[in-house]
Each structure stands twice: as structure tokens, then as C-alpha cells.
Amino acid sequence: MSTATADTHTEHDPHATNTGISNTKLAMWLFLGTECLLFGGLISTYLLYKTRGNGKTLPTDIFDIPFTSVSSFVLLMSSLTMVLALSALQRGDVERSRGWLLTTAMLGGVFVGGQVYEFTSFYREGIGFTTNPASSAFFTLTGFHGVHVSLGILMLMSLVVASMQGRLKPQNAETVEIVGLYWHFVDIVWIFIFTVIYLIPAE
């Protein structure tokens, strides 16, 4: 009897850990905690160097706030589509979940495209990675964030492919939730960057 109970427990309780949380989800949250330190360092570096232009144009001189606002809005709305994808999968609506995952990846792609456009326009204005300390710090910070978004898109697309192959089922909802955690984190980092780097005026 105890064997049968133990077997059933293993079969039906995916979170049979000391914390009651699956190890993968716990690991993702720990990872996100360490990511706070990474982005904290990059943001602090930019704040220290943002006015050091060495007599050349600063990134703050040519920020295109209306354009970046649209990009920020797009990334914010991708968080909505991400939770809708998880919600649909938890309800067992695999097709709708796949649609929302694809939409999230596409919105992420629009954001990254906007970032590439911004970097290109900066370069045309004479601001490269090594132009001055401010530009180095700016490109490092926003570039790291862009890489994070790009990795998130890869994760989302792998979920879309798995879903098309019939390998993403309601019982795999936690996988989508974990990718979602990463995606939302990337979004909240941008919420911070958008305010502190773009909207708060330079001295």
C-alpha cells in the first residue's frame, strides 16, 4: 500500500521537493536574482559616465524619446501576450497558447529591430562604441539587454516549435512559466532603463 501511495505521489506531484517548488523554477528565480546585480552594475556604470563625452556628442543629446517610447510599449505588451500564452496552456488551449507565444516572440523581434535602428542612427550621428566613455557605457548596457531579449526570442521560438510538434502540452505549463519569468524580467529591466536612462534628463 505504501508503495502504491509513493508511486502515485511521484506521478502526480511534480514539485516533490523540500520547498514545494520545482528545482527548475527555483533555479530560474535564483538566476534572476543574480541578474539584478549584473544589470545594476551596467546601469551604475552608465550613470557614472553619462556626462563624460570627451568633447564629443553624448548619447543623451540624440535620444529619440518618441521612438523609444513605442519600443518600450511594444516590450510591455509582450509581457501581456506572454501571460496569455501561459494562461491558455494551463486551460488546455494549446493552439491559442502557441499563437500568443508566437506573438510574444514577434513583439520581442520588433523591440530588437528598434534597438538595431537606434544603434544604427547613433552610429550615423558619429557615436560609436569607443567614441567616449558615455557611449561605451550606453552601448554595453542596452546591448546586453538586447542580447537578453534575443535569447528570450530563441527560447520562445523553441517553445513554438515544440508546440507545433505536439510536445508542448498542458502538463508542460511550468516550462512556459519559466520562460515567461525570464521574459518578464527582461521587461522589468527595460522599465528601469527607460526611466533612468532615457526619461530622467541628464544634468
Binding site: 501511495t5 502515485t8 520547498t19 517548488i21 501571460v83 524580467f185 521587461d187 522589468i188 530622467i200
Partner: protein, 112 residues
């Protein structure tokens, strides 16, 4: 024996359902997104100083709006409100450590 097994299975399913029951509905997610969009709109509005002079209130206002957006996404979209407190503790620890370490760094470099 089978009765005990069934009881355990039902209990496990109930726990799973209970986890998801605390998650917001799709309609609530959309309402949260609308609030986030509205706050973003106000943030962008502050940029156009010719419309309204925010003066000394500009930076505090922007910081408050940023924190509200951050809090809404973390609590509702990342489900920290419904999940076990240990996850919030991990995340808050990371944030507190980052803020503490980099505030000291900024102070050391006379940023303020």
C-alpha cells in the same frame, strides 16, 4: 490500497489547481496591461516639458511610476503574489543587494 492512492492523486491535483486558481484571469491580465500602458503614457508625457512644467516633481514622479510598473509586472505577471514567499525573498534579496552595492559605488564616485 486503491482508495488511498486515489485520495493522494486527487489531493495532488487539487494542489495544482489551487496554484493556478490564484493566478489572475485573462481579463485581469488585460486590465493590468492597460494600467501599465497608461502609466507609460504619463511617463512619456512628462518628457514634453513645454506642455507642463513638472519642475522638482519630475524625477520623484518618474521614479514612483517606474516602481509601480516594476511592482505590477513582478507581482501579477510573474505571479509573485500567488507563488510561495521564498521566490519573492530570492528576488528581493537580489534587488536589495544590487541597490545597496551600487548605491555605495555611486556614493564613492561622488555621483550624488
Amino acid at each position: 490500497m486503491s482508495e488511498s492512492a486515489t485520495d493522494t492523486a486527487v489531493g495532488a491535483d487539487d494542489t495544482d489547481d489551487d496554484d493556478h486558481a490564484h493566478h489572475p484571469s485573462d481579463a485581469e491580465y488585460i486590465k493590468i496591461a492597460l494600467v501599465l500602458a497608461l502609466i507609460t503614457g504619463v511617463e512619456v508625457f512628462t518628457y514634453f516639458e513645454s506642455v507642463l512644467d513638472w519642475g522638482a516633481f519630475l524625477i520623484p514622479s518618474l521614479m514612483v511610476m517606474m516602481v509601480v510598473k516594476f511592482w505590477l509586472v513582478a507581482r501579477m505577471f510573474m505571479h509573485l503574489k500567488a507563488d510561495k514567499p521564498i521566490l519573492s525573498q530570492f528576488f528581493v534579496t537580489g534587488i536589495v543587494m544590487a541597490v545597496a552595492v551600487y548605491m555605495v559605488t555611486l556614493l564613492a564616485f561622488n555621483f550624488f
